[in-house]
């Protein structure tokens, strides 16, 4: 298929987030466009950005455990883990108090699948998920 569209790419106005003087492109739901631009300072800025979810997330050590796990998983496998697998892995690593859905929702009220992934710099989930 010829995809030589009449669509202008450069005119695209997407939201941005500024970290250390550098502007990073986000998608329309606040997910980082380029997952490789992520570092822990970017995560901090994404957590404080309430334009998309309506609420800031104060990152504690507990949040970081989830964010780092998601990040590692994504880099290795190319996707965010299924929520059940995330719960299971949390249980394995940090015990049953942390390996349950309620705990994860308490940390990420907008939903671990969405908000934790956004803060971890993962792209928005695609496909039939």
């Amino acid at each position: 298929m010829v995809f030589n569209s009449v669509i202008k790419k450069e005119g695209e106005r997407m939201p941005e987030i500024e970290v250390k003087g550098k502007k990073l492109a986000l998608d329309e739901d606040g997910f980082l466009q380029d997952w490789e631009e992520w570092d822990e300072e970017v995560a901090q800025a994404l957590a404080e950005d309430d334009r998309f979810t309506g609420a800031k997330v104060e990152l504690s050590d507990a949040h970081w455990e989830v964010v780092r796990f998601l990040r590692e998983f994504y880099i290795e496998k190319g996707v965010a883990p299924p929520i059940r697998q995330l719960i299971k892995e949390m249980k394995k690593r940090f015990g049953p108090d942390k390996g349950n859905q309620e705990y994860l929702y308490e940390l990420f009220p907008q939903g671990p699948a969405k908000d934790a992934c956004r803060i971890a710099g993962l792209p928005k989930p695609t496909g039939c998920v």
Partner: protein, 537 residues
Amino acid sequence: MSKDDTRLQDISKPLNEQLVKIRFEDLMPLPAPFKGPEDEPPLTDPKPDWKKDYVTELDGYIGIDMPMPKNGVEEKELVQKFLNGLKKLLSENNNWEFLQPLMLSFEYCAQCQTCSDACPVYLSSGKKEIYRPTYRAEIVRRIIKKYLTKSGKIFGKFVGADIELNANTVLRLAEDAYRCTLCRRCAQRCPIGVDNGLITHEIRKLFSAELGIAPKPLHELGTVQHLEKGSSTGLTPEGFADIIEFIEDDIEEKIGKRIKIPVDEKGADILLIHNAGEYLSWPENPAAFAILFEEAGLSWTLSSEMVGYDGVNYGVWYDDVQLARVALKHAEIARKLDVNKIVIGECGHAHKAITIIADRVFHDEYNIPRESCLTLLWDLYRKGRFNLDPDKNDFPVTLHDPCNVVRLMGIVEPQRKILRAIAPQFREMSPNGVYNYCCGGGSGFAIMQSMNFPEFRNKLSARMKVKQVLEAFSDCISPDINKYFCLPCSNCKGATRDAFVHYGIWDKCRIIYSGLVELMVNAMVDLEEPFVEWEWH
């Protein structure tokens, strides 16, 4: 309900005007426990920022989340490309795959409007003209008449050639092609078989192939990602292997027995292909398949090859070339594994893509038999291959009929026969079978999550299904009673999950949604604990 006097010609109006605005009083009312606007999220306006790059001037919703050439830029090119595409759509060489049914639908529609009352989007919206199944079809028909026929060029509006083709027409039409779920209920209702769903599909195809316009979740993040990374979810072969191991662990935990899920087993009888969304969002579904196939002693395998572990084929909604690329890859993998047949898991559009549409490109060694999981499951059940106790499923159950499996392919009874046997409180929703309504997520809507498109889906395309489910459970709607909405299709599950969250169905009514195989495993005599988990996810 406010009267809508939008005309066909309005599609060409300048872009400073939004043709239709949906208000709450227009929406089809929902049954109990819904009483009024306070029971559901309000309708919202598009953000002013969006107007610069996207087409909000149809109904305010944005289905095509790629910037469009608005405000004078490249407008001529847009119109010219549209016309070129239209010519190709009508030529044997360029559109051998769909030309005949397309022409029949173009030529024989008598404008009786019987189809309008069959359309869930049209009805849910309070009968807005732009959603009428004939609206987009008639616009294209008149454009063809005016610009591509002699009589239209000379006599213009006297022969019904009265649609002005300008950039506004093209841009609004592109959006309107993404307001129909391609459920084809209109085609079924038509007394002479005119298929306005097909016409919508062909308009989408024109936009994709000729103008490069398609929603990102379908093209860039859909078929392109599917072919390049292995799955439209982004799942890689490594990730797939990891999840299979996780599912094996999960099965062991739940049923106390370890099952080795066969992957890449050459010479197996069956290659089972799931929608990869199952692995990521509903891993209990592939788990239930593995348990049942193991119990039935089948010779089967999954594929871990790129594309082979994701049965989706988004091309079926918008682009024949992309469809063929993915379908041929599926067939190639089955051929290499030397299986006797491909069985498609609980995914409606994958059924349509690989069994029906791909039949036109599967020749010779590629023409491997394909079967629905539903007919296979019934056959196994009928032959007594499972030991099931219906008492374990003694809760209210209703069933959704995925359009592509049921209306399109006519697979109506197998899933019902199973449910009647294993779910004592099974009740049909109305209408059902081939007369079903779409889940609201058909044709890609379930995965189109950009900007305000989810609001369109939840309020307009999925509203009829929500109504049907509430009515089916009206005798037990109280949240004190757990109820099971059986949806044998990943896409339908995705749309239902979002709609149920939108309307707060879990808290208000305690209805979970899940597939057919989960309910079968839940009834297995050997299982000590229930397989179905009564929690929202």
